[in-house]
């Protein structure tokens, strides 16, 4: 008190001495703020959580409950757009700024574990009563395992199934959706017979690799060989599946150009497209667009299989997982947060917020999920899902190569045989590094 009194008030802003004291006052103020801040963080642990897209926006609403149940832990949510997510997370890792917990598309887990960015969760899971393997669909859980090591906990899940126009299929004599490849083809031909030339029975875009891989897996193709160090797309099994799908485009049962379909829902409403293999993110969009009369005219079904005895055919295990940063300083608190997001109640709440399908099976018995007729097919399909090869190069293989060769064959630039041989060539080049690493580590 006395100190401040020694400074004459009128001189406060005027002369050199006054400015000096002003600076001292300012520094004192700043250091006080810093002090009070650091004091706060002594009581509290703050965990950083990065989530993508809609999750990043809505997960905020789940935080207050967690903070109430766990006094002393604060969660800071950072929203990251999907399109930039991988780039941002890798850069964050490279600059040592990874968040404590983050959402990761489950096909990205191999990359981030190769980076050494994410923590092995085996010991956490074995001590947990909330997160145990048997509470999840086994195919989905499998995408988070590399060897015996668990790197992520499924948060919400997706897979691809068949969306179809009930009325149009019925007109072709199909009162129930096709159950085999043969029926899928036959049904498409019958629909094409009464459709005008610019409308198509099915949509198989060449810029979506998933159906090609799914049908390959259904035909028992082994996509990569020699412990995933060489491509095996030219195998007769994969070629059979690949040409089966390309054939739809060649026979004009599916449109060739992707740019013609800017709005898939509008196309479905106008019968421009009548079958489409897609995921749960489209259920709500379909509900929004197929209104009035159309409301009852669409349905979902599990995927057809190569032969009737295998029905439903296998599909891909997709979705997002929660992972723990290896360099996090708050692993205990972060794991608590993962557990919180994995309780059935919170999983149901997330479904109510943004229709993310719960990864925890128990949550599916909630009436809002059980009562939705479009979700039934998803539940059935989740019992028949499998993971894609768990190597960091997988995304490059399918996005840059498989989609390219699908387009090349669909447009007749290459035959299926030529395309798959070049595909294997390209894949072998991409996997050269992986072969070298495995060889080196053996020594």
């Amino acid at each position: 008190m006395k100190n401040t009194n020694t400074i004459p008030k009128k001189k406060f802003f005027s002369s050199g001495e006054g400015v000096n004291s002003y600076i001292i006052f300012f520094i004192a103020l700043v250091s006080l703020t810093i002090l009070s801040c650091s004091k706060k963080s002594n009581d509290n642990t703050t965990i950083d959580f990065w989530a993508m897209g809609a999750e990043g926006e809505f997960v905020q609403k789940l935080i207050p409950q967690f903070e109430k149940e766990n006094p002393g832990i604060k969660v800071k949510v950072q929203m990251v757009p999907w399109t930039a997510a991988q780039e941002k997370l890798v850069t964050a890792y490279a600059s040592d700024n990874s968040p404590d917990v983050y959402q990761l598309g489950n096909t990205w887990i191999p990359q981030f574990s190769a980076l050494g960015a994410i923590e092995k969760l085996n010991s956490y899971v074995s001590h947990s009563s909330v997160v145990t393997k048997d509470k999840y669909f086994s195919g989905i859980w499998g995408t988070n395992e590399i060897g015996d090591e668990v790197f992520g906990i499924p948060w919400y899940i997706d897979t691809r199934i068949l969306f179809y126009r009930k009325d149009v299929l019925a007109k072709a004599g199909y009162n129930s959706p096709p159950k085999t490849w043969e029926e899928l083809y036959d049904c498409s031909r019958k629909i094409k017979a009464f459709l005008p030339a610019d409308k198509y029975p099915i949509y198989i875009p060449t810029n979506e690799w998933a159906p090609f891989v799914i049908f390959g897996l259904q035909a028992n193709a082994q996509l990569l060989k020699n412990s995933a160090t060489y491509g095996n797309f030219s195998s007769p099994e994969f070629q059979k599946a690949f040409s089966f799908l390309i054939n739809f485009i060649k026979e004009k049962l599916a449109p060739m150009s992707v740019s013609q379909v800017t709005n898939i829902y509008q196309a479905f409403a106008g019968e421009y497209l009548n079958m489409y293999i897609s995921g749960p993110w489209n259920v709500n969009e379909f509900k929004k667009w197929m209104t009035g009369d159309l409301q009852t005219k669409w349905m979902t079904a599990p995927l057809p299989a190569l032969s009737a005895k295998d029905y439903p055919g296998v599909s891909l295990a997709g979705g997002s997982s929660l992972v723990l940063s290896k360099h996090s300083k708050n692993k205990e608190a972060a794991w608590k947060f993962i557990e919180y997001l994995s309780t059935p109640e919170v999983q149901i709440e997330l479904y109510h917020l943004i229709n993310d399908l719960p990864a925890v099976k128990e949550a599916w018995s909630d009436s809002s999920l059980k009562g939705d007729m479009y979700l039934k097919a998803f539940y059935e399909q989740f019992e028949h899902v499998t993971a894609t090869p768990k190597i960091p190069e997988w995304e490059q293989i399918v996005f840059s190569k498989l989609q390219q060769y699908a387009e090349f064959t669909a447009r007749g630039v290459m035959t299926v045989d030529e395309a798959m041989k070049s595909m294997d060539n390209d894949v072998n080049k991409i996997l050269e590094k992986r072969r070298w690493l495995l060889e080196r580590d053996k020594k």
């Binding site: 150009s257 740019s259 013609q260 090349f408």
Partner: protein, 294 residues
Amino acid sequence: MKTNQTKALILFLGPALLAIFVFFFIPVVAAFVISFTDFDIYSLGNFANARFIGFNNYVQLFEDPLFWTALQNTFWFVILAGPLSVTVSLFAAILLNSKLIKYKGIFRLSYFMPVVTTLIAVAIVWRFIYHPRFGLLNYFLGFLHINPVDWLGDPVWAMPAIVLMSVWKNFGYNMIIFIAGLNNIPTDLYEAATIEGASWWQQFRNITLPMLVPTTIFISIITMIGYFQLFAEPYIMTQGGPLNKTLSIVQYMYQEGFRWWNMGYSAAIAFVLFFIIFIGTIIQTLIQKKLKHA
């Protein structure tokens, strides 16, 4: 005296040079070194996983059909869009400089508007214009009884469609520079020519064009460099498709580097691109130096 001068030099140039050194020179050298390694996602986690592979990236690059496709596409784009952009902007500048035109400000503003508009918004609108079934362009072509073209979905038409959009988007910028160039031509030249009875075309050929040579050199080089770095237009409109016909070299570099994390390979692409632009610029300056002296 001298020491004072050096002091002043260091004081004034130092900060800028330091910034250039840290944020430009070091990254360029680092990228050059990386282009001789197979730096990738494995190496990002552990440097021991990177190998020095000499010129392998460059050798691989020249054997990579996708690289040649991207290179071809980029050249095709530069050859189509470069001269078109320069001619259109020169034409617009001459029109706007004419004494006959009223409301010059409005025209200048509206031609310049696309330059300052966000490319993302522009590209989305143009995607609608190019839509095969509902697009405005096909609607107008319908009046001329031309069958609908799938502009962005057809391997032949996709690149011209992108050229059209890019030229529309940036001719306004060049136009403004041309207008400045036109204003710098002394009016007495035209007065003298008019007294001698020179026609409009003769004046244009013998006064306007020669006087605009320095401006044209500048615009051509800037446009060429910009167009060689074609990226955002195809990235948003076509993602490089159909049949990779709109994949540009920068897009390929971005994909390899930031999508698949093959940093070494991506850096090699960057240096090849640098070399191409470098040679292109030299050739252009040589040609136009000759024009100037001819």
